[in-house]
Symmetry: C2
Subunit: 216 residues, 2 copies
């Protein structure tokens, strides 16, 4: 298989992990094959959408029996990058940052945090979940030694842009931004925004809408 | 002001916290007024989009000087629900669940986790960050006493649907789903999906694209 890189649409990349999660569950329940129609029904997504999403992944299903479930899981995991080990640094070991350091689940999905950086003297030299916390001043040196390209940004809002600039200057290529601040970066830097608080705002608004409706 | 509930489009609800974060930063830096043009420039969003987003929020700007910054911040925080205290339960105090219990940041955005539920005997009766962990069997009883309507779902994939069903049967109205499983719920239940792993998949794919480009 030639290693041709395909830029997959973001909605597809967000749905594929759902199919993967469902396939793993079906395997646990003893299934050996899975069709895109089955997945579509169980997940509540249009079957043609599922088929379209799968068209980005090189996985071959057979008419009637569908995909061989082990192959489907392995292919999806590889395609999504979950089987590769991507080393990452975390910037800002405060409340949210240290809580992410506690989450061992990330490793299972291919992200291994190898060091955290902070400027608080009382944190520097300590460890969280066996991950060492270093002073931010040492980032460039440690990056040069390790070549880590992914940085998780969990600093306070007022430091988000400054630290993002430092990360990029030091060789970070992809920033997973957990701050509610919209950082500006050069075109050749990948930014993935995951603002828990924005998701909270959506949930609060929808819940309020629901409760108002019930009142009527 | 009549309390008319407006269903705000999700993209707007996701952008408003960016404006809020920027306004707070500008206030720290000594600004007293802020125009939507300024916000647009700093955040890299079209000015007409910012103005449109603000049209959902009852905030009055003056020509030339823009919004009074304190009023803007207070109005946005209230509008987004961050100033109300929303009590929540967490379901599944494993790796991701316990890491969320460590995050005090959520409280600042209006979400207070008052109890966690799990089925592991060794966890029941313990506390994480002063939040008590109870056996899932006690959920209905505790929900009836407290009337909590928000549930955070952080159980393993193979228990996601079952626990979601229990949550709903017990009176939970909004589910913040952190599992990669797409749960099925009745129409009158709010679901907010926050799959960290789906975001990882997007980031890995984009990073890979970038590195392939650089090779060429």
């Amino acid at each position: 298989m030639p290693n041709v890189f395909v830029k997959v649409p973001e909605p597809t990349l967000r749905r594929l992990p759902w199919y993967l999660a469902y396939a793993k569950l079906a395997r646990q329940q003893g299934e050996t094959h899975l069709s895109s129609t089955q997945i579509a029904q169980k997940i509540g997504i249009d079957a043609s959408q599922v088929a379209k999403d799968f068209s980005f992944v090189t996985v071959s299903g057979k008419t009637r029996v569908g995909y061989e479930i082990d192959e489907l899981i392995t292919t999806l995991e590889q395609f999504l990058g979950f089987t590769n080990c991507h080393k990452a640094f975390l910037f800002g070991a405060g409340s949210l940052g240290s809580s992410l350091l506690h989450d061992n689940g990330l490793t299972q999905y291919g992200l291994e945090v190898v060091a955290a950086f902070d400027i608080k003297v009382e944190l520097v030299g300590t460890q969280i979940n066996r991950i060492p916390i270093q002073h931010l001043d040492r980032f460039m040196e440690i990056q040069a030694q390790t070549g880590v390209q992914i940085g998780i940004l969990t600093v306070p809002v007022n430091q988000a842009q400054e630290v993002a600039d430092i990360m990029i200057a030091g060789g970070i290529k992809a920033i997973w931004n957990f701050t509610p601040f919209r950082i500006r970066v050069p075109e050749d830097i990948v930014v993935q925004n995951t603002s828990l608080y924005a998701h909270l705002a959506v949930m609060f608004n929808r819940l309020r809408g629901l409760l108002e409706e019930e009142k009527e």
